[in-house]
Amino acid sequence: MRRLHALLSSDRAVGLLFIAPFVVTAIVFMVYPVVEAIRMAFYSYNPLRPDLSAFVGIANFEFLFSDPLFWDSLWQATVWTLLSILFQTILGVGIAMLLHRALFGMAFFRGLLLFPYIVPTVVIALIWRWIFNPEIGVVNYSLLASGIIREPVYWLSTPTMAMASTIMLNVWKYTPFVVICVLARLQTVPLELYDAAKVDGAGFIRRFIDVTLPQLREVLIVVIVFRTIWTFNKFEEIYLLTKGGPGTSTFNLAVYSFEQSMASLRLGVGAATGVVMMIMLLIGSIVYLRITKFGEEVR
């Protein structure tokens, strides 16, 4: 009894109490779904007939790897992720450097920059559908009015343009996240480094390559890892904008998983897709962090 009392009144107990809500939440909303998805990946499961659920071994994975649409979706997910991250990083760093200046009204512009990031995706996707509308969309109107194009561009009606449009949407929405992270880091870079480089005769580009980029390295590694994971898993933007079409030209693995689970009622195959995605991202992240030697300075 005395030991229990001592335990309850110790700092350790208070610590446990504080982390308990997170641990419980994580178990219920993260650990359990992952474990359940892994379990379901080895079962055939039609949600309308749960009584017919049966263990099927690796049959769901065999189905996946023999389905051409799975490989198409994987390739398209890779293209969509790499191009999105590339443009987000380049634009994010560029905009952050522009905003890292003490000009009048800069705080307002920094606030405005967050707009795409805070607006719900469903609203953005619907607005973009209007913007991209070939007949009445503002993009075509502007391009036609300025003489850049002579005929309306069908932004969402051809495979290449639809992929480009979904990438544009993703870049527009998530570049602010990169800007915020990079801007925060830029504000902590010691000015002495730039002064010293100037004294040594370094121009703007040389200062950017030799001072700014090395200082941003750690934050960029983290941002790229997170953005890659989030983009690769992204479902709602593609589904709301193109539903994976035209055809299946903008399917990524998340859309593929949804279609298998909900439209085809093959929940086992959908879960197997999720497991494959998880493994790919895990391996990719570890390899990337190893290659970039993330955190080595700290050690």
């Binding site: 949600p47 969402l156 079409g245």
Partner: protein
Amino acid sequence: MRVKDQHTNKAGLGRREFLGGTAALGLGASGLFGSKSALAQSTKTGTVRVWGEPGPYGGVGVAAMNEWAQKNAPGLKFEIETIPWDNVYVKLMTDLAAKRPPSLISVESPIAMQMMAEGLLLPVDDLVEKIGRNRLVDGVKWDYWGNWKGKQYVIPAHHQPHLLLVRMDIVKELGLKDPDTWDWNDLLNAAKTISEKKQGMAGFCMALGRNLCTDYHFAALLHSAGGRMYDPSNKYEVMFDSPQTVEALNFVKELRPYMPKGAVEYSFLQVVDAHVTGQTAMSFYWGRTLGRAAEEAKPVFEATEAFNHAKHPKTGRRNNWNDFQGWCIPAQNNPFIEEVKQALVYQQTSKEWLIKYCHSLMPNVAPTYKDIADAPELKNHPFYQSKSKTVDTYFKASLAHSSSTANELLQGPNPLAGYVHGRSILAQTVQKVVIDNMKPEDAAKWGARELEAIRKENARLLG
């Protein structure tokens, strides 16, 4: 059907005003068979959830049920939950899987037939007798709505075919023949002529997106060519890899240059938009286009007439895709089964409510009972004055050409059709030709493989 038209229907008259008017019209007539309200009062309380497709008619049906509830179950309130068209399958399946079905569903026949074969619906033969087994309009059978192994699972809500909508002002201007006499070649020629001679206007429009609308549009062409997906008389053997499928796909390919460029992503709403905004002179669609045009584009409404589809040159078939939409009652996790049955009988035996139902979106939802189809009150609608032939084509003349994926060429129910539409197999087959430039022969083979996969996975449904 289709399109989020929730507003007005009669030209120049708000839907509420209009419904108020028809309610007054019907107040004197208390229903063909009376209300059959000699039923025990229910003491249950709560909300009875009803699923329906977009459009005012589901709400009218539920209003009738609430009238029943006021008299017989004062603690209950029927409430309509509208399911958007392109999400109907996902919404139905996820909610049913989550064991929270509504108490009543108004749904299209492919999904109803899948659910009934799956054992998810309650047989309603007892209601058929109360409603009147001999009331159906000529040319239809109870089976068309949903009968499986001798039991009826679906009560008719309406039938709604998609037809060929034509801008007659353009046809006359260009000296084209009467669309009622067209075969596929004439339709193609008309689409070509219009595209070439009318600047900025497509000759023809159908949905080509990966969606339900494309499935329905293509199915009509497939059936007109004499093709099918499955053969119910031979254990649902897949029939899709056939010259008829190839022919239908080739026809879509030939029509494609005369459609709006964005058609490859079109679904229900966009086809209506294309017609109502004058982007196209012809389209495949249900009666909803006319309701929308009456509201938003009077000249388009006045110039547009509906025809049975162009004949197939060899078979002579003019098949449409007719949705035999009906009411069905989920059998599991449904606390209001008895109340729903009684309310449904009340609605189905009330002439005033059934006429209001049809009037709520003319000429989209066609009457299913003779006494309603022939009722003088039904004709008390402006569309009957301005477009009597078109309305009659939707309501009656189309029935001779009915077909659907749930009952292909009316040769037997197909419980696999729901899965086919859930996976958009027909639409994907079409897209392989019009987007991926796959040969129609190869696309037909691809579609056949997908249909065979569905058959194998769901062999349990076929008994």
